[in-house]
């Protein structure tokens, strides 16, 4: 048999049927559900008089709209409250394998709690009405975001009509230098291939740097595959994967565990497997990254400068760059380390796991948030992450330094709750999108790693975290 990629294996093990033009019906193992993209799907199901195909594939939580403080006062925004209550009602009516509602101790960002609960397993197909579902590919799963019509389709049929994507290998060789993290790797990848570089592709991340990453790091990496245009990102299963899954709430037990592990060990690309595209980076060349524009591809080293549109020949690209710098309020050729910030956000499905909070706390410990910084906040990815961090005393480290320590949720990554930037405010953010208005209308987002965000909070401007570690 021809050598297969990991993507080939995950795809072919889920094809229910295939028609002449190559459109396949793909079986879905795990369906993650949140309050924003599901109400219309449940309503559609109801209007058509249909029942869910396999409701025990559903794991649900409320995360996008939920507040990150004053939980005793509930959700004050009536429209947000209605959306969360609609999810409550839908789960009451239809059921779920597990539901972690607002105020539950295990509630959190859907892409944090899936893996945390062992609800994301190697070899699965995982979908969610959320583009950052690519996160779960870190477990050698085929995981991708879908729209609400597809949420309804999966609820009703447990399948999706799809065509197989192209395959792309992103190999990161060598080793990372101290202070450089998975976030810097994925930002460097996006800087190299662009936000549409992976469009139409499923990306497999491989190479010695990826093998050396923890599951948290691999999740950060796969999370942002979508910012490179790829619906799915993935990493082969290995001991790191298996040890992470072992003993988790929904992980296989007894005989099933041994059988599962034997299967999971096959979830890697075969020697000699052919990819449609290959990109190779040297890990040792990657410096801490900071975005300076309004697209994740507008990114560079903390040691660099804001680019100069005058040096761009292509008129469409030049206009796009000028527009981005205007929105960001930045002058060409400004050193990145001279950019001062107003707010700091450590959180989101990209960087809110325990390892992220530890990395940020290491930088913060014994220091103070700079006087010019109006707000520095840490939003843990889940109730369990929050509790773990508190048991390690990380909340004290952050609070003593002047950070706010909040309740879990999506928070200021997309600012659907009260956490947001005001017009013109500049933020060092560990989230995934620096689009215009993403963190609040007129807000200016710079994407960085947790350690870099922490360092920026202390200095009041971007600094090379390697110089203060």
């Amino acid at each position: 048999m021809q050598p297969q990629t990991l993507y080939d294996k995950l795809w072919s093990s889920h094809v229910v049927s295939e028609d002449a033009d190559g459109t396949a019906l793909l079986y879905i193992d795990r369906h993650l559900v949140h309050e924003v993209t599901s109400p219309q799907a449940f309503e559609g199901l109801k209007l058509a008089g249909r029942r869910p195909w396999r409701i025990d594939s559903v794991v649900a939580t409320a995360d996008h709209n939920t507040p990150t403080r004053d939980w005793d006062q509930g959700i004050r925004d009536p429209i947000s409250r209605t959306q969360v209550e609609t999810l409550d009602a839908n789960i009451r009516e239809y059921g779920a394998k597990a539901y972690f509602p607002f105020l539950d101790a295990r509630q959190g960002i859907v892409h944090v709690i899936g893996p945390e609960q062992g609800a994301t397993l190697p070899g699965m197909t995982v979908v969610c009405g959320d583009s950052h579902t690519s996160t779960h590919g870190a477990f050698a799963a085929l995981a991708f975001g879908i729209g609400t019509s597809e949420v309804e389709h999966v609820l009703a049929t447990q399948t999706l009509n799809m065509k197989k994507a192209k395959s792309m290998l992103v190999r990161v060789d060598g080793a990372l230098r101290a202070g450089v993290t998975a976030k810097d790797v994925v930002l460097a990848v996006i800087g190299r291939i662009g936000t549409a570089g992976g469009t139409g592709c499923a990306i497999e991340f491989a190479g010695s740097v990826i093998r050396g990453l923890s599951m948290e790091g691999r999740m950060t990496l796969c999370n942002m595959a979508i910012e490179a245009g790829a619906r799915a990102g993935m990493v082969a299963a290995d001991d790191t994967t298996i040890e992470y899954v072992r003993g988790r709430n929904f992980a296989p037990k007894g005989d099933h565990w041994d059988r599962a592990v034997a299967y999971w060990r096959t979830l890697k690309s075969d020697e000699g497997a052919i990819f449609d595209k290959t990109v190779v980076l040297n890990g040792g060349d990657i410096a801490p990254q900071v975005t300076w524009g309004t697209s994740p591809e507008m990114v560079g080293s903390v040691e660099g400068n804001v680019p100069d549109p005058a040096r761009i020949e292509d008129p469409v690209k030049r206009a796009s760059l000028e527009r981005a710098l205007h929105y960001m309020g930045l002058q060409p050729n400004t050193p990145i380390t001279e950019i001062r910030i107003d707010k700091v956000f450590i959180g989101s499905c990209t960087n809110s796991r325990i390892e992220d909070l530890r990395a940020a706390a290491t930088v913060v410990r014994g220091r103070q948030v700079a006087a010019g910084v109006k707000l520095a906040m840490v939003v843990p990815g889940s109730g369990l992450v929050k509790r773990q961090a508190e048991s390690e005393g990380l909340d004290r480290v952050f609070r003593d330094a002047g950070f706010e320590w909040r309740e879990p949720g999506c928070s200021m990554c997309l600012a659907m709750n009260d956490d947001r930037l005001e017009p013109g405010e500049r933020c060092a953010s560990t989230s995934n999108r620096n689009f215009e208005g993403r963190q609040g209308a007129g807000g200016r987002t710079h994407l960085v790693s947790p350690a870099m965000a922490a360092a920026a909070a202390i200095a009041g401007r971007f600094v090379d975290v390697r110089k203060i570690l």
Partner: protein
């Protein structure tokens, strides 16, 4: 879903690459639990001079006169002419809902983000892919010629420009069929229920831990 066969429509040019779904419909409007009513907030941050929130009377808000969709010559446009990587970012289907609610039935661009592209077909919004050079030319003509219209013929897979020149475009047979016939995709898939059930049994036998 509404059928899509042949559309003759006014063209509005939106000359920016990488238009993301946060720009198409900002997050504060995603709190709705309905599929309709998003049109007045399409491109909200570009279209209005003030900050929009759900529940506002949009007819009383100050319009940005420089934004293309506010120019009288593009009123009633059904075809959006756009640049590469249109619809990148979030998976929100509210983006095609807002575009169709506003009145668009088709987009012409060199490329789209995958999830947005997929979502559009589910909502009777046809995302036509044209080579960048053709799109460049259409931008020049749409801006130079008030009332510039295109005919998009999905059954024949052609875009017809004024004067009759035709440009062929590619589209998946499956998606085309569903759109031309206005089919309910779920109903179609459920005709394969027995096949799905048979697969499920094999899958359960191979990986029983997935079904515990």
């Amino acid at each position: 879903m509404e059928k899509f066969t042949v559309l003759d429509g006014l063209v509005a040019p939106l000359d920016r690459p990488n238009v993301d779904t946060d720009a198409i419909i900002p997050k504060q409007f995603l709190k709705s639990i309905k599929r309709s009513g998003f049109g007045p907030n399409l491109f909200d941050e570009w279209r209005y001079l003030d900050h929009g929130e759900p529940g506002m009377d949009n007819s009383k808000r100050p319009l940005n006169p420089n934004f293309v969709l506010n120019q009288p010559r593009y009123r009633g446009a059904q075809i959006l002419l756009a640049r590469e990587n249109f619809g990148c970012g979030s998976s929100r289907e509210h983006a095609p809902w807002a575009l169709t609610d506003f009145g668009f039935r088709a987009i012409v661009a060199p490329s789209y983000a995958d999830i947005f592209f997929n979502n559009s077909f589910k909502n009777g919004l046809l995302p036509v892919i044209m080579p960048a050079a053709v799109v460049d030319r259409l931008f020049l003509e749409a801006e130079a010629m008030p009332g510039f219209r295109l005919t998009i013929d999905l059954p024949r897979q052609v875009v017809v420009i004024p004067g009759g020149q035709e440009f062929r475009f590619e589209v998946d047979a499956f998606r085309k069929h569903n759109m031309v016939e206005g089919l309910d995709e779920i109903g179609l898939t459920l005709k394969q229920s027995d096949t799905i059930r048979a697969f499920e049994e094999r899958h359960r036998a191979a990986q029983p831990w997935l079904f515990v």
